[in-house]
Amino acid sequence: MNANDNLERGIADVYHAEAPHRAPDWVLANALETIESTPQRRVLIRVPWRFPDMNNTFAKVAIAAVVVLAIGVVGLNLLRPSASSGVGAQPSASPSATTSPSPSPSPASSASQAMSTFTSTMHGLSIDYPAGWVKHPATESATELGLNFNSPDVDYLYDGQYQGDLFLAMASQPLAGKAPDAWVTDFLDSFDGGCTGPRVSIVVAGTNGILCASNLFATADGDRGYFVRAYTGSDLTPEEEKAHDETWFRSVLATLQLHPESAVDTPASPAAS
């Protein structure tokens, strides 16, 4: 038995000794009371995980019927213009199966989203963000890069409805003698216990940065290290979450401009160690 095994066994022992056997009764009571007035999320289209109630033959026949129907509808629409108005007919505005999709939120919809530009006087950067979001500029320089929602050393741009569940956060700090690549790596390694998602090199604002876990970007320019974080919490609807995915974040990052020369570094407060 090696030291690893001993430590792992020790952790398990501590957990089993410490774990409460029962939750206080009121925890369940309160939850059930809240649930009384909580509607369930509606699932408008449930994609079946499998077809538990359909045998294979029935499923195949049903799918074939849908395909035949779709081909028929498309075929009719292709034939209709030439039959009704001959050569040179103007495109018809009549509805057809291929031109009446139901509205569905998608990352593409964010492309047409109205954007505003935020300029950070503290951190020396500017970036576009969805118009209507709330600006919460940093009031202190980032001596340590913390990321609590509303912490004073980070610029926040957030959705007024979701607040701490949908925001962009950004800040910069001096490299303090570190090489740019080392700062970026150290930052990503220390962020929130270490950003463990996939890391991809991307060029943003003329710098070579790293995008980690699809939502955290770090780079360095001049003598400063920068990060931008897109956060989506679990309170978002799946549609909102999809509309603020990596594609959206990259489109926001594409607007990032870095001005390290205009960043402000205020002295650390006496309370800071």
Partner: protein
Amino acid sequence: MQAELVDRARRGDREAFSVLAAGAVDRLYAIARLALRDTELAEDATQEALVRAWRDLPTLRDVERFDAWLYRLIVRSCADIGRHRRKWRAEVSIVRDDASEPDGAAGLADRDLIERGLRRLTVPQQTILVLTYYLGLSPSETADALEIPVGTAKSRLHYAIEALRAALAADERGTVGDTREERMA
């Protein structure tokens, strides 16, 4: 039996959900208590996970995966609550607790040391340790609960153990230092 309850609850049957919640609440609370190391926050996280479970149950596609899905929800609630309350810089800059008096029993002393070390980890680090060493989940089950790839889960577990090891070493150095100072006095 459970699958039937889940299916009923998924279709809006509150009574069925009450039965499911009563069966899961102690387990969820224990996970939250160990991951957050705070009684009040654990109570909040457990309630939040149960309410989310009710609200989002219609989105659960496979009723057989209800338990795994609940783990995801409690992990998310712990992460959200941990995120709002913590200063993540605390991960590195550790304030040493006052070392408790040794009780003479080596096992208890070790446990006390580990317990203090665990307190110094971040919520994500605590969470992966709880899933692995308290619930005994496999790497793939842990990855599923955390909604991350298996490789990432393995690496996160590795770093959590390393962080604990570093905290233990720092604690031990602190204790030795204190002893020396006491001897000098």
